[in-house]
Homo-oligomer: 437 residues x 2
């Protein structure tokens, strides 16, 4: 026959086989449910936005990555994150929202990045944000990492570190050193510290025109190490005499103390002075999260505080703080590393196999089980038993129920555990309780 159309998904677009899809949904449901138990409200905004709306907030890099389209004379784009739509939404619905507005969103975003292993062009972000009206308490900067800690624990992740910093510290230091006009280039150089090491970064900083005394003071700062408390002491002793620096230090110190109060164990968070995160966007606390054993995965949950979420869209001042889990990439990596393991290929727990043509008794049982939220299928009696059981085995359905003349006469069911092979005669009550165990 003729050549057919290509059937693989586009490169950079995740598409899963049933068992992995079931696993993905399970993880995504855990995130959703945890966000909800903390009282966050769900929000679902369109995938398409006016290109203007996206451009108003996108940095140069994001702009290039936007999937653009034209409809009539309108320029549209696919959203590249969930924060821009949130800003637009809060600006649009300001009068009808209750502040602090706590919302979560789990949805697909699009970035036309160059194709690369482990990078996705369509991926799920799972965001929580708290938006204040004019002001927003610093406690939220500590509550969000506590929520993320709960989420990751429930996802079965153990060894991860939420790294916390405050952008005001950087900004204040740069002002003190009178290098704030050059801060974008300098930050870019510093961002590479983990990748290329101190020596190479120093050379880059020289290229930025920095004198060696200034470079040394930057590294006095970057090299502060130890526990969170030791770093805070170290920062206080640096002798930086700048208001913004000191404000950032106070905030960081307060956030760290609150994160402890919110119950995050010392082993799961730390101060990391090298975290900058999108120089123009965040204005206070910033976060990144890494898997201790797999730093190569990169940050699996990032975010921060912004003074004014929606300044492009409204004159209301809306400070906010948010965190975002990049679920698609996280899932992909943890499946590959064997940390997330598939469990089941179908929701079905019971396959009912009528042994006679009349499938009414099977249907009645199915209805009862489904009302108890036990997923149930019926296999029709027109093919051989081996083939019918083969379907259950291929899908790893755990239970089979046979219903024949005998069973109907006696008012019982033949219940078979397809894992152990054990079969027994049970009444309805026993059947339900065995399956629910």
């Amino acid at each position: 026959m003729n050549k057919k159309v290509l059937t693989n998904p586009l490169s950079g677009f995740m598409e899963l086989l049933p068992s992995k899809q079931m696993l993905f949904n399970k993880k995504s449901d855990i995130i959703k449910q945890t966000y909800e138990t903390f009282g966050f409200i769900p929000l679902d905004t369109p995938v398409l936005e006016r290109l203007d709306t996206l451009m108003a907030k996108a940095g140069e890099e994001a702009e290039k990555q936007i999937y653009q389209l034209q409809r009539g004379n309108k320029k549209l784009g696919m959203r590249f994150d969930l924060t821009v739509p949130l800003a637009r939404y809060v600006a649009e619905n300001y009068g009808q929202l209750t502040f602090p507005f706590k919302r979560y969103a789990i949805g697909k975003v699009y970035r036309g990045e160059r194709s690369q292993a482990g990078r996705f062009r369509e991926f799920y972000q799972c965001d929580i944000d708290v938006i204040g009206d004019k002001t927003l308490d610093l406690r939220y900067d500590a509550e969000l990492p506590a929520i993320i800690y709960t989420v990751f624990s429930k996802l079965g992740l153990k060894e991860f570190t939420i790294r916390i910093n405050n952008r005001k510290i950087f900004n204040g230091l740069f002002k003190e050193l009178r290098i704030e006009d050059n801060s974008a280039d300098i930050m870019q150089a510093i961002d590479k510290l983990e990748k290329i090491g101190e020596k190479a970064v120093k050379i880059d900083l020289e290229k930025c025109g920095l004198e060696s005394t200034v470079i040394n003071r930057i590294f006095d700062f970057l090299n502060l190490a130890g526990t969170s408390d030791e770093i805070i002491d170290g920062l206080a002793q640096l002798g930086v005499n700048n208001n913004q620096f000191n404000e950032g230090l106070d905030e960081l110190s307060e956030v760290i103390s609150l994160v402890r109060k919110f119950g995050v164990p010392e082993s799961s968070f730390k101060i990391d002075l090298t975290i900058a995160r999108g120089l123009d966007y965040y204005t206070g606390t910033v976060y990144e999260t890494q898997l201790n054993k797999y730093p190569e995965v990169g940050s699996i949950c990032s975010g921060g505080r912004y003074d004014d979420l929606a300044n492009f869209y409204t004159d209301h001042k809306l400070p906010g703080v948010g965190l975002s889990i990049g679920l698609t990439r996280l899932f992909d990596q943890l499946v590959k590393k064997g940390i997330f393991k598939t469990e089941t290929t179908t929701p079905t727990k019971v396959l009912i196999l009528p042994m006679i043509d009349d499938f009414k008794p099977g249907l009645e049982l199915a209805s009862i089980l489904r009302e108890k939220k036990i997923a149930t299928e019926i296999s029709f009696a027109d093919s051989k038993m081996k083939k019918r059981l083969g379907y259950a085995n291929k899908l790893s359905i755990p239970w089979a129920v046979f219903i024949g003349e005998d069973e109907i006469t006696k008012g019982v069911y033949a219940l078979k555990n397809l894992e152990t092979g054990k079969q027994e005669e049970v009444n309805l009550e026993e059947l339900i309780s065995k399956i629910q165990q």
Copy 2:
């Protein structure tokens, strides 16, 4: 200040305030859970597809509506339904799927239709399909409407009718009347019957070049009325001597008898011989579903049987049957008619209000409640009690818990029902049981 960027969503794109979003999610969860209790496997495919893939299956009308984009030298499009991606997926993963492959999908699709009240350009479809390998039992043509009946009942809809027909009956009749070459135009004319009436349709059919004897035979057929059984008898007595017609009649008769066996009450389904649904796509059973009291809403759930789902993508013969709920439009209409009513604005059930600066006792209570899946927020003690309670009232949070020195000393909580205003001192156990009631 200056003019800001537009903040309303694009026209034809639904965006909901929190209380409606909560309601939408509740309805969508009911659909999802019901599909799963029937053993359907979730599937999530990319929103973007190769334009070729979409074009291979799109009719002329759909083609015009595809949101197209170009990335490098690749032409892409946003999916306009969930069936085309399913076809591509099954073709791609044929060797790794278990047949009959039962999958559900709930996702956004895109159609650049002309803007019109009640029409959406981005909308959710909630699809179930069963795909067979080479063959697929007719019982699935009856099980699907039974599932949809369960879904709609659980959604709180009472008066709806699943209309069932079989395309082979039409096709056979057209062959018998030797008008099959003209069938597309004729079908189009017949499709307007409910809107413009018999007289006007007859004039249109004359314009198609049909003789009055042929038109009369078509109307003998279309005017068959009565119960499902009466229509089936009427069809048998029409004296059509065509194999395809008789095959269609047998199938329809069998499907109707099976739909009864599957427990769908007689009042919720009927044969409707005027249903055609996309002449080129469906090959057997076809369905449409209407709300009895609101026919103007149009079909809220449509679908049918297709002999060969993925013939553009694979040489494997994959017959299937599917049904799709257009949730966005259904939701929009039922909210406007007051049938779907908002209940809550936040997942939060409890607002904990510490009366002292130390919020640790509040946090401990919150953790316990959240572990029991009771959504809980903590209000911090830095603003006035009136303002803190105002937040709970605006969001209609049902319960408040006050924790002050007194309560901590006595080991109790002051629990207030914010609907009745009643406040009482309770211990932890009582608190949980009252809230869970």
